[in-house]
């Protein structure tokens, strides 16, 4: 399947500093259409019909999220754009924010109109602070030209915490607290920021909205697979000749992205979805990239045949243990214990019992952790045990009894 630019259509085409170049490319036409000719329910139906699912990793149906927030009682509601792109190997949202901030602003204003919110926040990770001035300028221009009115967008900066990409931790951070995850339910559409109905969408999810409003749901949902409509932007890095940002129709095979576009050779495996993502061995390189199979937020890190799987999994767990917010025990302690066990394997001092322990810990963490971090932290361990078990077995310490 071909590359197709819906999300990135303006990137490299418009001047992100000048709103006039955006207006030349149908800029704010979708907002005008939504505001002047569509009811809130019509917008929701259009998004639902499009099949658009969240691009931050979880894949929740966007239209349903908006519908829930729209129907929630109360006058004070919020729209949040999650620009806390912290997943290892992801840089596509940075590319979008750098090249086309206006589409994002337009989409947020449409979201505000749809759910009845007057205020939106962009939560920008601390590492992307260099984008702050241009984003502010884009917001100011959208206001000055009069396209965005009755809707205020404020940028809140992160301060260096991976877990704040998780929606409930992100909201706590906007509220000025430690970025610790919340118990759910209630979910944000009924009780989010300051307990008010809130929709929180990834940058890339929002980028699809104006095109869906302008061209219609039918135009959008003809692209992709049965349960994954539209395109996905991937960030490709690691052992490839052409790392970068690629937008593909959903359902495209992994092989096309890794070998044909990013020009990888002698691939051992690919990690898809970052630290808590899946590890895909080369034998599965034809796997379609879709919510039905493997997707995540679109981080694709490629590993050459010469790479050591234990080393990679160890480093991944080191990251997760460091970034666990510490609120729930299965994640806080589980990641540390896993790290300790993996350290033993890395030193060639693992044991048969350790392999069983990793499996037992994994199921406990997946079941009992409060958020995606702890629930998904065992994935690289389980995947590597499944696909590369011999690597673990070769690191079992030989004693005189074995």
């Amino acid at each position: 399947m071909p590359e197709k630019r819906i999300v990135l259509r303006n990137c490299g085409v418009i001047d992100p500093e000048r709103i006039t170049t955006y207006l030349d490319k149908d800029g704010f036409k979708a907002l005008e259409k939504a505001r002047d000719t569509m009811s809130q329910q019509q917008i929701i139906e259009e998004i639902k019909e499009s099949g658009l699912r969240g691009r931050g990793g979880a894949g929740f149906p966007c239209g349903l999220k908006w519908e829930l927030a729209s129907g929630a009682p109360g006058n004070e509601k919020y729209v949040i754009c999650n620009a806390d792109e912290g997943e290892i190997g992801t840089f596509k949202d940075k590319y979008i924010l750098q090249n086309d901030p206006f589409t994002l602003i337009e989409a947020m204003a449409i979201a505000g109109r749809t759910i009845g919110a007057e205020k939106g926040y962009i939560y920008l990770r601390a590492e992307y602070r260099f984008l702050l001035d241009s984003l502010k300028s884009a917001i100011d221009q959208a206001k000055e030209t009069g396209y965005v009115r009755d809707f205020d967008i404020e940028i809140r900066q992160g301060a260096g915490a991976y877990v704040c990409g998780e929606e409930s931790a992100l909201m706590d951070s906007i509220e000025g607290k430690r970025g610790e995850v919340r118990y759910r339910p209630p979910f944000p559409p009924s009780s989010g920021l300051w307990g008010k109905p809130t929709i929180i969408n990834n940058v890339e999810t929002l980028m699809n909205i104006p095109q869906i409003i302008l061209n219609g749901a039918a135009w959008f949902n003809q692209l992709g697979t049965e349960r994954s409509k539209g395109t996905k932007v991937f960030s490709v890095s690691g052992d490839v000749k052409k790392p970068g940002t690629y937008e593909l129709v959903l359902g495209s095979p992994l092989k096309e992205l890794v070998e044909e576009l990013a020009l990888a050779e002698e691939v051992k495996m690919v990690q898809i979805g970052g630290a808590t993502g899946r590890i895909v061995p080369y034998q599965m390189i034809d796997t379609p990239l879709a919510f039905e199979n493997i997707l995540g937020a679109g981080a694709v890190v490629v590993f050459h045949e010469s790479r050591d799987i234990i080393d990679i999994v160890y480093r991944t767990m080191e990251f997760l243990a460091e970034e666990s917010c510490g609120k729930c025990t299965p994640c806080r302690e589980g990641t540390e214990v896993m790290l300790e066990i993996l350290r033993r394997f890395a030193c060639g001092e693992g044991s048969e019992k350790d392999m069983g322990l990793l499996e037992e810990l994994s199921s406990a963490m997946m079941l009992a952790s409060m958020c995606g971090l702890g629930q998904a932290a065992p994935i690289p361990v389980m995947d590597s045990l499944h696909h590369f078990r011999d690597a673990y077995e070769s690191r079992i310490k030989k004693t005189k009894w074995s």
């Binding site: 840089f91 940075k94 301060a159 260096g160 690691g238």
Partner: protein
Amino acid sequence: MIPASAKDGVSEKMTAQHNGQENLLVLLQEAQDKFGHIPEELISELSKSLDVSTSDVYGVATFYSFLSTKPQGRNVIRVCKSIPCFLRNCQPIIETIEKEIGIRPGETTSDGRFSFQLTNCIGACDKAPAMMVNDDVHVDLTPEKTSQILKAYE
């Protein structure tokens, strides 16, 4: 240097719509920018003025990796150690910096010019290895390029 009243210069214009805590992180970020760290006096002052317990202020100040309760150098170097940068050889970059400024990750030079940290993914994986110095992102690093870059930070 910490001013007599640590709160001087940290904006008081903010009004809390919801509660005092709302502005806490923003004020701590301002203090970090202004003083290079979050002085202890400020923690107790913010606790009083925002009506948030001292332990909660301290809790927020120590949760985030870009906030520090200990004085930092004028320039903070953060080298990415995450997997994409690791695959592209971030180790020689780390060693170059150690040699150039004579400290190890987690330390600050005695002249206060640099603090040196290792950090998690900064989203520059397509141009790895990468590092941040203050808010600037430097990419496609080589040991030679890294030495040159550091010279520009006084």
